[in-house]
Symmetry: C2
Subunit: 340 residues, 2 copies
């Protein structure tokens, strides 16, 4: 450890130790002619500092290129300064695997949506992935807040909420009462599908779906579709094995073409079916708004659950909560139709 001299503009700042060229609070304080505590206050409680000194500090900080040291402030504050995106694998959906991998197309979008919020805050985003909810090790989880990624099982919700850390459960969590959550409205999404087909002049519609027993969001979407269809006077039927057996579903559709409008529980199902059967002239609508649907010779509209907005909003909610603010237990991001 030795003494070095840092020159900045016309001011000479003496440092006790080398500090690797980093600019500390001490340098700013000296340059602004105030105490280090005042510099600290400018960043943590600006209102408690007189406007004159505040300006002085900010000017000096600007000149020196000062950035508060996150590790130091976290250490002092006794927090980690991080929030964690907690992601559980979906081992019970191996049958679904190929498609799930595709769904990751919005992963980058989500991450960037989160980043956008957190990089302006005092929090740093951490990523954590476990195979299953039971693998979460409380001692590994050192963070101030948790964003539960793509949660659609009670087991996952309980595991994330049970850590004793402020959290927001995201995506398919509208019905997990008693938890803080930011969710899509699958029921409304299904209703949107019915409305779209109705507006297209359809009368006898069909919903292609599957895995109803295992996948809760599928049930919600179907419920919304059937409910709204009834209200609108649409005659609606369900082919509930369309995901497991697209060829079979296509065969049914081909046999007689008794439907004049088709909704699918997700775009991939519809894309699969369109590989088997040409549905020219029949209005169709998918779900998830995957951009790849435009790769087909025939494209179609789709319900967009707006994942980016869900996570963007959940980041804001978490920050509010961590700052001691009040947040609603449930924040719903309504889906929209993407005509693509």
């Amino acid at each position: 450890m030795y003494t070095c001299t840092i020159t900045c503009g016309h001011i000479i700042v003496k440092e006790h130790s080398v500090n690797k060229g980093k600019v500390t609070r001490n340098a700013v304080a000296q340059m602004a002619g105030v105490s280090t505590a005042t510099v600290s206050r400018v960043y943590n409680d600006p209102a408690s500092v007189s406007p004159v000194k505040r300006e002085l500090v900010l000017e000096a900080a600007g000149d020196l290129g000062y950035r508060p040291n996150k590790q130091a402030s976290s250490l002092r504050r006794g927090t980690t300064g991080t929030v964690m995106l907690l992601e559980c694998g979906k081992p019970r959906r191996s049958y679904y695997w190929k498609q799930l991998r595709l769904f990751n197309w919005f992963y980058a979008d989500i991450i960037h949506g989160l980043q956008e919020v957190f990089e302006r805050s005092m929090y740093t985003l951490q990523l954590k992935r476990v195979e299953k909810p039971g693998d979460i090790d409380r001692r590994e989880i050192q963070t101030d807040g948790i964003i539960g990624f793509d949660i659609d099982l009670q087991e996952e919700a309980d595991a994330a909420a049970g850590l004793g850390i402020p959290y927001i459960l995201c995506h398919h969590t509208a019905s997990f009462q008693g938890n803080f959550r930011c969710a899509t409205d699958n029921v409304r999404g299904g209703a949107l599908q019915a409305e779209y087909l109705f507006e297209q002049g359809c009368g006898r519609v069909c919903c292609l779906t599957g895995y109803l027993a295992e996948v809760y969001p599928h049930r919600e979407r179907l419920e919304g579709f059937l409910g709204r269809s009834k209200e609108l006077g649409l005659q609606a039927e369900v082919i509930d094995y369309a995901m497991e057996d697209p060829k079979g579903a296509a065969a049914v559709l081909r046999r007689g073409m008794q439907f004049d409008g088709i909704a699918a529980v997700n775009d991939l199902t519809l894309m699969n079916i369109l590989q088997e059967i040409s549905l020219d002239g029949v209005p169709m609508i998918g779900y998830d708004a995957v951009p790849i649907r435009h790769l087909l010779s025939r494209t179609f509209p789709s319900v967009d659950p707006r994942p980016r907005e869900i996570y963007h909003r959940s980041a804001q909610l978490l920050i509010t909560r961590l700052s001691g603010g009040e947040i609603p237990e449930l924040q719903v991001i309504p889906p929209v139709i993407s005509l693509g």
Copy 2:
């Protein structure tokens, strides 16, 4: 601040301050009957501690559930304890946008590959995204190491390397000499395509490509394809507007079908073309190994650049470098053919 007593097993550990229930080095030291420095050494330089005391410490740490505090160690060490994945937007590729968004299908894979390495290290992964290389603010970049994401422009390479922070430039960086990089071998990938078609018994092959002037990797892939084709005695031609005008390319293919084998610069191009023309019986091979190609009625093999491996390896390289180890300037991850 007040004194509290922590009981652990049969040992009573007295703490000076509350510490929010966290277990510190002091508690471990006291329980193990050693000094705090010894505890520290067990984690940072285990070889310098006698086996007996090491065991004592590890046992106490295990009982107490001790985890070293990252912010504190980083602060003391004068490092950030983080590495950053630095991502530049590709504004000059707006024409490419729809497809680029699709390419993000492997983003989650990459992130998880990186996580896998870093979560076992002392480093935490940070994410940073800028619109263009010029937007990188040196003062914003507070990290110990950088992984340059998807770098394929000299400008990006220079920006990342010029920060004065250890870095690895990833993906399409094989030719950026004078930098540390972990790259794919696009030339080899193109050669693989030629070899595949040769093995299928083709004689007159065709490469569907595009944006050759703007996108360097496309030129590399083509170079590899043409070079290896020549060596194998394949007659090869190029349709270099296949991405801009898939319908036009399809028309050329349709007109006479003078080719008995087809390679494409990427899977999406091939998928687009397959929407226009049925190429039953003609061997084809794509590039990028996007899983969605299986959605088509006809699937095809593809060259897999193994992005997950690229980033996984680059994480290891960066850690080695940060630990003072020697690493090669260029590490190539060879592509493989994915039959899908």
